[in-house]
Structures are given as structure tokens and as C-alpha cells.
Amino acid sequence: MNEQQTNQLILRAKSRARWQTIFLSLLLLFGIGPLLYLASLTFYTVTDRANDSIELIEALYEVTDPMLRVDERRVEATLTPFFHLTIRAPLAMEGWDGFYEVGTDVTDIQFGKRMSTMTDWSIPRPVGNDTDEEETLSYEQQVGHFAPNDRLHAFVTFAQPVRYEHLQEAIGDDVRTTWLAVETKETGDVTTIGFPTNDEHPVERFKKRLAFIAEHEEEASERTWPYDVRANERLADLADEPLSIQGASVLVTKETLDAYYNDGTWENVTLLYPVAR
């Protein structure tokens, strides 16, 4: 082997070593992404963290919101390799002819901890200043301008709480309820709780949902801040007392609403339409 051949061999070996370094660097650079993604996916799936967060969002809307429901079939979750999970839960509101999508609840979670929640409204909403105090409108101001046959969706409280078993007797056939508010404890900083009526076994479902919230009470309180669900306390109360209904979201005509309001059966009427909270 002469000197020229030896030099060629050395050059070729050097070239291969350089290529190998380049390959290895690219491998490390590109390989980290999928590995982190797998770690992130494992973190959220094996411990059911992602599913629990989605279920909590659904449960909280169902138990604490008289108007909005999460469309369970269309909830989307996206995951990044950096342990970031974004949950997009479409929000629907029940109307006279079915459910209408009104927006999307977007929750960002990092390392299993909720970072932010916002609502993307897909409907027109009043433009207001965040610092404005919420205006309380009188009954006349809210419904005065509607015609007697206009169909309204309102949240009403009952003058006298009604036992769940006697609800049908307390309200007529001309009233369709979409959500029932349950009376347990009443203090200033606690959310109203209740359940939608469109399930086959609404009470069992409500108790299950409340029990689920109780298991995740800390996260639930963070989401409902400045109000608190106090799910554990309320579950204990529900176990002791018969179910008593304090109010309801109702679909009624203006005429019927007037009748119930004027005879004192219903008080504190709030028309339901989506507004930014």
C-alpha cells in the first residue's frame, strides 16, 4: 500500500466519521421530540389526568350552570411534547327547538395543572367594560318589551322550595324545565347547584357528578372562583335530606311567566342568554 492509497483511506475514514457525527446530531435533535411526546402522552393518559380534567369541565357546567352544557361528543384535546394539554369543550344552550352551540370553553393545562380558562363565544354578546358592575334589572325591564306569545328561557326561583317528587304538581304542563336548582346550604360565596332534566335518571346522574366534583374539589374551586361548590358538604346534606328544588331554568311563554310571577309562585326571574363571565 503506497502513501497515496493510505491518504485516501484516511480521507474516506474522516469523511465517514463526519457523516456519522452529523447523523447522530440530527438523530438526537429529532429524536427528543417524539420521546417527549410519548412521555407527555403517558403522563396524561395512564393516570387519567386528561380524562378527569375533561369530565370535571363537563360536570361543573352541568352542576353549576343553569344554561350551558358541554357537548360531550365533540370535546377535543390536543397535546404537545412539552406536557401542554389544551381542552376545547363546545358549549351548547338548550332552546325551544333543541340545543344551540354558543361558544367553546378553552382550558390550558401544563404538567397536569390548569393554567387558564377562557370562553370563545360564537354568538354576538354585549360589549362592556370588565370593571362595570353587573347591572340588576327589574322584572319589567327584562321582559316588559316581549309580546304575550313570545317564548322565553329564564331562570326563576320558587317562593316555596318544592320536593322533587311533587315538582310536576307544582308547575303546570305549560312550563318546560331544563335545569333544576337544588337547595342545600345557602351562603354568599357558594355556587348554585342543580341538574339538567334531559337525562333518563337525572338525580342519580347529579349525585354521581357531584361526587366526582367532590373528588376533585381543589381544582373545581379554582375553576369556580370566587364561588365555591363545596361538593363534599353538599353531598353530605343531600344524603340526609330529601331533594328539595329551589328554582329552575324554564322555557315558557311571556304570558305564562307573567302569570307565575304575578301570583307570587316564582320570584327573582333572570332571562337566560349567554353573556361573558
Binding site: 421530540g33 417524539p34 402522552l41
Partner: protein
């Protein structure tokens, strides 16, 4: 002949790395993975060709290992995502 085998194994390695970069892009930027399959097969064929030369065998083996790990990664992800979607 050997030179061609060597080149095919290098091409296979480059294609496998390109696939890996594509997987990264799909994770970070929601790029679809669908078109990756033809590249996957071409890379595998080139790697197998590269196996026939002693000189290029190392690259070809690396390339095949990379393709297998990519396949495993996609399979694991699909399995975990199915687990994730299995909500009551």
C-alpha cells in the same frame, strides 16, 4: 457496485431522519403524517439494499433501527390515544 449500495444506505438514513423531522413537525405544528408512509417504505427498501455491502451495512442497520423505532413510536401513540379517548 459497492458505491451504489453505500449511497443507498446513506439515502435511506437521510430519509429516515427526514421522517423523524416530519413526525416532530406533526407533533408541534399539527402537520399531517399521512404522506409519510411512501417515504417510510422507500427508506426501508434502500436500507435493505444497503445491507448487502459490508461497508454500508452499519448505516443500513442504523436506518432500519430508526424506522423500527419510528413505527413503534406511532404504534405506542395510537395505543395511548385510544386509551385517552376511552371515556365513560
Amino acid at each position: 457496485m459497492n458505491e451504489w449500495l453505500y449511497r443507498s444506505s446513506i439515502a435511506s438514513m437521510l430519509l429516515s431522519l427526514f421522517l423523524l423531522a416530519w413526525i416532530n413537525a406533526s407533533l408541534l405544528l399539527n402537520v399531517t403524517l399521512g404522506w409519510a408512509l411512501p417515504f417510510f417504505f422507500v427508506s426501508a427498501i434502500l436500507a435493505i439494499i444497503g445491507l448487502f455491502s459490508k461497508e454500508s451495512r452499519r448505516f443500513a442497520i442504523w436506518s432500519l433501527l430508526l424506522l423500527v423505532s419510528e413505527g413503534l413510536f406511532i404504534a405506542c401513540s395510537i395505543f395511548l390515544l385510544l386509551l385517552f379517548n376511552d371515556r365513560p
